[in-house]
Symmetry: C2
Subunit: 262 residues, 2 copies
Amino acid sequence: MGPEGIHPDLRDVLRKSNIDLSVITGKQAGVEVMNGYWYKYPHAAITTDCVIFGYDKSGLSVLLIKRGIQPFEGCWAIPGGFMRLDESADECARRELQEETGLDTAFIEQFHTFTDIGRDPRERVITIAYFALVNKTEVRAGDDAAEAQWFPIGQLPNLAFDHAEILAAAHQSLKEKIHFEPIGFELLPEVFTMPELQNLYEAILGVKFDRRNFYRKMMNLGLLDAVDDGIVRNSPRIPINYRFNKEKYDEMKEKHKFRIEF
Amino acid sequence: MGPEGIHPDLRDVLRKSNIDLSVITGKQAGVEVMNGYWYKYPHAAITTDCVIFGYDKSGLSVLLIKRGIQPFEGCWAIPGGFMRLDESADECARRELQEETGLDTAFIEQFHTFTDIGRDPRERVITIAYFALVNKTEVRAGDDAAEAQWFPIGQLPNLAFDHAEILAAAHQSLKEKIHFEPIGFELLPEVFTMPELQNLYEAILGVKFDRRNFYRKMMNLGLLDAVDDGIVRNSPRIPINYRFNKEKYDEMKEKHKFRIEF
DNA sequence: CTTATTAGTGTTAATTCTACGCAAAGTTAG
DNA sequence: CTAACTTTGCGTAGAATTAACACTAATAAG
């Protein structure tokens, strides 16, 4: 399966013709021959798709792009693209995210690889799916001309390929992960208030919490630092600003004590 | 990226020679040409690897095979192989498992896709990794001549490629999943006793439980049915045989009430 | 002035967890 | 034969956690 070397018959033909043999080099992936690559066995193509989650007071939403080319032209789709041979899937997903949002440090996580045979009508394509959690306020429009738009989860348009399935799986994965890792914070600005945090959790998990119990639970976890913003807060009417404390989280994670669940 | 059609120069050369052009057909993946496939862009190869977990009273172990070919010839490795274009990754993993163990109904689950650039010295290969939970007593030797052997987790040999990393990730994934899904039962014979079940959990999670609390927890979950095996059990000295109740599990899963944790 | 919002503390009952004790009745080792 | 051990099953007392709601203070918004 590796670089097979060029097929003897083909080599012969090429040698007899005046095509430059110097382009025929044993590359890491297959044999490069005349602007193309030759393999003894058929190879599927590999893409990464990145479900980008954002959050604001209206709830949880995902960033979709309108496809400019066939197939599914004009259809909404999860951002993604073909993996290059000089990058890992993580790097590929991060590159896609950067192109689409301008962000290069967001939280991303691989959650599943989709391999159904007919999922792309053109050829056999498998996709390594990621989800990203971004702070919507930091996102700027994508570089490319592709139309991009946020859709509230629950008001999604029809999606290209098997992207509806991928998106549903991403949402499910997010729900499951949020119990045991403080990834919810990735969706908020660096500084946030307690009601904002609670709304976020309620939006993702689809449940309601008692405000006071939520407050106590969060404070007892010790993950929140009040921000000293100089504002005199003699009135509780002004929400307190908090910041996530990463050190305490790392410490807590080792002891397997972390859990946010109601 | 799709089927690119055959390169005009190459087509010309082939036409001038006496090589049969009929083999050049537009296939789903790339263009088939003279026992090979030609693509405009380089493609990585795709494999699945399947970490097969087994369990007996000596603890948790994994099935490894000794590689008969280069690279890493003579080295132990996780069973796996190249994905064909007419099968999904799930089917590929299940096929590998069947070839290695003779089992065709075991529990398998995809947990991560490994894509590091240098992970295979031959060419770019990504692997979709699965773990399987099998009942060791049902496993028969693999069909192929390849040497296969069970290794207790914790006494693993040096492994080929990045298989040590894959195996560690599989074990971690198993540990996390076992809290919320009754996949532990997949490792046991259909009928088992309470001490066997407890030993299994202790072996996987690496902790000790109080026998009585474990008993009560399991019974309260309602997932175990005592087996009516006709043996008169007027003595507690004879362990009771249990069987896993799948219906109750499905019912419980919907209500999100399932958890095994101590 | 009224209503709504936010922070924070209290309280209380219900539930769950943890760590044991104990009895019955055999099996196994010596 | 005896002593030690195994397994089932119930009990239980204290600690910890959860869930549900009361209440105050302060003030912004209308």
